[in-house]
């Protein structure tokens, strides 16, 4: 399936804006500056997407995964290194940094909230740009497990993956935001943005 450059350009702008907005929310939360890489856009078949995500799996990371559906469906993933996640928690809770790899109930709840704010900010910005609406599910925490549930994705579809790296300045925390959208669902929306109502 060939995807026109102008459509890629619109999606890139939507992803850039969404991840940029998420960085503002994250920065407000931590009261620290966030450095962002320019997000990269990939287009994958289901097998390619699975393969890509499998390569991302790492026992040293904690992932917050949140699905969404509606005019645009897919899932957002925020990945933090385990100890980076702990540092985020200690920064937010204002208590000493912990080197324990386990996450307690309160820590899971907190890291889920951080992921929720980031993923919602990306999705909401994109929806506002395209004048569409999507519905978010509750966030889940995954430790290196499958971050894509293959039973809800279809091999017929093309998936768009927007990925941005972030670093919390002065805190030594780096992580990744991945936003996966079912491309076939959003193509009509891109057409509308590019050419108006035809």
């Amino acid at each position: 399936m060939e995807i026109l450059e102008e459509k890629k350009d619109v999606l890139q702008e939507m992803i850039n804006t969404g991840i940029g907005r998420a960085a503002v929310s994250f920065s407000d939360m931590l009261q620290k500056e966030i450095d962002l890489s320019v997000p990269t856009l990939y287009f994958y078949s289901l097998d390619e997407l699975k393969s890509y995500l499998e390569k991302q799996q790492n026992t040293e990371y904690v992932n917050v995964v949140q699905s969404f559906s509606g005019d645009m469906s897919g899932r957002g993933i925020v990945s933090f290194p385990l100890f980076g996640g702990k540092t985020i928690i200690s920064t937010l809770m204002d208590y000493p940094d912990s080197r324990e790899p386990d996450f307690g109930t309160m820590e899971r709840e907190l890291i889920a909230e951080v992921g929720n704010v980031i993923i919602n900010a990306v999705g909401s910005s994109m929806c506002n740009m395209a004048d569409i609406e999507t519905f978010f599910e509750m966030p889940n925490i995954e430790f290196s497990n499958q971050i894509i549930q293959t039973d809800v994705e279809s091999p017929e579809n093309i998936y768009c993956l927007g990925e941005g790296q972030f670093a919390v300045k002065g805190a030594g925390i780096e992580g990744k935001i991945m936003f996966i959208i079912t491309y076939s669902e959003i193509e009509a929306i891109l057409d509308k943005l590019l050419y108006g109502d035809i």
């Binding site: 709840e109 929720n116 919602n120 506002n128 004048d131």
Partner: protein
């Protein structure tokens, strides 16, 4: 100390604690600040305490903030309800205002945003 009854509704303890800490810093009495971690619990606390101001999250286990807001508005149009959410999609905000929300604030809460809420609340009470 300002003795306004305020209800903080969020499934995240962090969000509730942060908002509460900021409110106390602004001079609000902690004894008048109540908390709920779900829409259902919010309705229970609301019935019991009749707060003047509610900070309401949207995405929570059980009934979410939107359903809780609609329930509150069935009997009370006076309580000042601020939606505090990271889901700032325009249709969502439109629907919430139609359902009776007074204000929508994007997460994360900051002292500036909180001041905006309280100033807007005070302005709404000025004849």
């Amino acid at each position: 100390m300002m003795e306004k009854k305020i209800l903080l509704v969020d499934d995240s303890r962090f969000v509730r604690n942060t908002t509460k800490r900021l409110l106390i810093g602004m001079g609000y009495d902690s004894a008048y600040i109540f908390e709920a971690s779900s829409g259902e619990e919010a309705l229970t606390v609301y019935e019991k305490e009749s707060p003047e101001i509610i900070f309401l999250d949207l995405l929570m286990p059980g009934i979410g903030g939107e359903a809780a807001l609609k329930e509150i508005r069935k009997t009370d149009n006076d309580c000042f309800v601020t939606i505090l959410s990271s889901n700032f999609q325009k249709p969502v905000q439109k629907r919430l205002f139609e359902s009776g929300a007074n204000l929508f604030i994007e997460k994360t809460i900051t002292p500036e945003k909180l001041k905006e809420v309280m100033d807007t609340y005070e302005a709404s009470r000025t004849p």
